[in-house]
């Protein structure tokens, strides 16, 4: 690993103190853990209960659902669409569809994969509408008026570390943007949404094997992008 790449890794660790890299910077012998925390079974149980109550007609449960499920759906929509403003619009549409489909939600079923499926359908419909408006547009990240800096970490910190951190995040964003939609969806669901392969397969309407393959290809593409930058830095 080159000097700049090593420095980049340490900078990332200091910039994202909650990550495993940060822990390793302090205690290199500790095993790495997930950078984004899995909500845990208690939270899932609370979500499933809220959806069950909403399906039975309890209106107050909608706000609970929105508060607890909203961040997850927004995260998924933002990472697959690449546009925070679009993600917020699609989030509203997703909850509208969740509301409409509440009667079809089976008692005792897990709500997170179901809701993510609906969010994915919303995103796919959004892509279809865009393509109908302009067939030349390939399904990829959307250009928006926001400056790319607004999507990157804030400017506090050592200049070199900051530059490295921003660059790393931008490399990941560009690598995600370059992926086919199916690979991006699979990677986001497994890497950021903490779904199991089987759950991701259900959301994506495909087999577990296909999900693993899509994730592998996405990971390879991102890895290559990171390695290429490392080589350029070295």
């Amino acid at each position: 690993m080159t000097g700049l790449a090593y420095g980049w890794e340490c900078a990332l660790a200091r910039r994202w103190p909650g990550t495993a890299m940060a822990d390793d910077a302090k205690a290199p012998t500790r095993a790495p853990r997930a950078a984004v925390a899995d909500p845990g079974p208690r939270e899932y149980a609370a979500l499933n209960d809220a959806m069950d109550r909403y399906a039975r007609g309890e209106a107050a449960a909608f706000s609970v659902l929105y508060e607890r499920l909203g961040p997850r759906l927004r995260g998924f929509l933002m990472r697959v669409s690449g546009n925070p403003a679009t993600a917020d619009d699609l989030l509203q549409e997703s909850f509208l569809r969740i509301h409409r489909a509440r009667g079809a939600f089976s008692a005792g079923a897990p709500v997170v994969p179901w809701a993510l499926s609906i969010a994915r359908n919303v995103y796919r419909d959004h892509l279809r509408r865009k393509k109908l408006r302009d067939p030349a547009i390939a399904p990829r990240y959307e250009d928006d008026d926001d400056s790319p800096e607004e999507r990157l970490p804030s400017t506090a910190g050592h200049p070199e570390e900051l530059a490295v951190a921003r660059e790393a995040a931008d490399i990941v964003r560009r690598a995600l943007a370059a992926l086919p939609v199916s690979q991006r969806e699979a990677f986001v669901l497994l890497r950021f949404e903490h779904l199991s392969v089987e759950e991701a397969a259900e959301v994506l309407g495909t087999t577990a094997t296909a999900v693993k393959l899509r994730k592998f290809r996405a990971a390879e593409a991102i890895r290559e992008a990171l390695a290429k930058r490392s080589e350029e830095a070295g």
């Binding site: 997930a34 489909a101 079809a104 609906i118 359908n121 990941v172 309407g205 990171l226």
Partner: protein, 224 residues
């Protein structure tokens, strides 16, 4: 410190971390939400659709009349021709409506639907082998009749399951269509005295195939 590339991927920075840290937009106002059925209401709607579908079959049967050999046809064979499509339809409806968890919804639904079709085919074959001995008849009038018998239940089924399928909408909608075609085949067994493997499988089974294709074509409206 050197790190395998896999660990680096596991610790990828989230390019949208700061955007996601911003507060959620306000939820849709309760007053702005359109009316949406609860689970109980959906259950009642689907039951009503099923009863309406059966009534539709009964009405058409009343118009066309029962088969002329109803008293003379072997009861076991006749029962098989009526019941095996109902079992097939039940399986296909189960495949369509059950919320699944786990992988490969389309493959699972397709498996159940294929089993349903096999049960229908087996019933027809066994009935013929058991002395059904219906008269030779052209398949085409029965093809048309089964399409007519299946159209009403399919319309009712698509209405009852509108926007219900978050995952696997094409496969589930096709299974719903197969179920409606199976109901049509069961009804037709009470109306048509025609026999022969080809007649029963093609003439009476056409509704299942057509229903499946129609369900597949109209699956967009069934997607949540």
């Amino acid at each position: 410190m050197s790190r395998p590339e896999e660990d680096l991927l596991n610790d990828l920075p989230d390019p949208f971390a700061e955007a996601l840290a911003r507060p959620l937009p306000a939820p849709p106002a309760a007053a702005a939400l359109p009316p949406a059925k609860t689970r109980d209401a959906v259950g009642r709607l689907r039951l009503a659709a099923l009863l309406a579908a059966i009534s539709y079959e009964g009405l058409l049967l009343a118009i066309t009349g029962l088969r002329s050999d109803l008293g003379a046809a072997p009861r076991a064979a006749l029962a098989l021709l009526v019941v095996s499509p109902l079992i097939a339809g039940g399986l296909a409806l189960y495949a369509a409506s059950r919320t699944s968890s786990g992988a490969s919804v389309p493959a699972r639904v397709a498996g159940w639907t294929a089993l349903a079709a096999s049960i229908f085919a087996a019933g027809a074959v066994i009935a013929e082998g058991s002395g059904h001995a219906g008269h030779a008849a052209s398949v085409w009038p029965c093809v048309l009749m089964t399409l007519l018998l299946g159209a009403g239940p399919l319309a009712l089924g698509l209405f009852a399951f509108r926007g219900a399928f978050a995952t696997g909408a094409p496969a589930r909608s096709a299974a719903l269509g197969v179920a409606c075609g199976a109901l049509a085949a069961s009804t037709l067994a009470l109306e048509c005295a025609g026999g022969g493997f080809t007649h029963l499988l093609v003439g009476h089974g056409a509704g299942m195939l057509a229903g499946g294709l129609a369900g597949l074509a109209l699956s967009r409206s069934q997607r949540a």
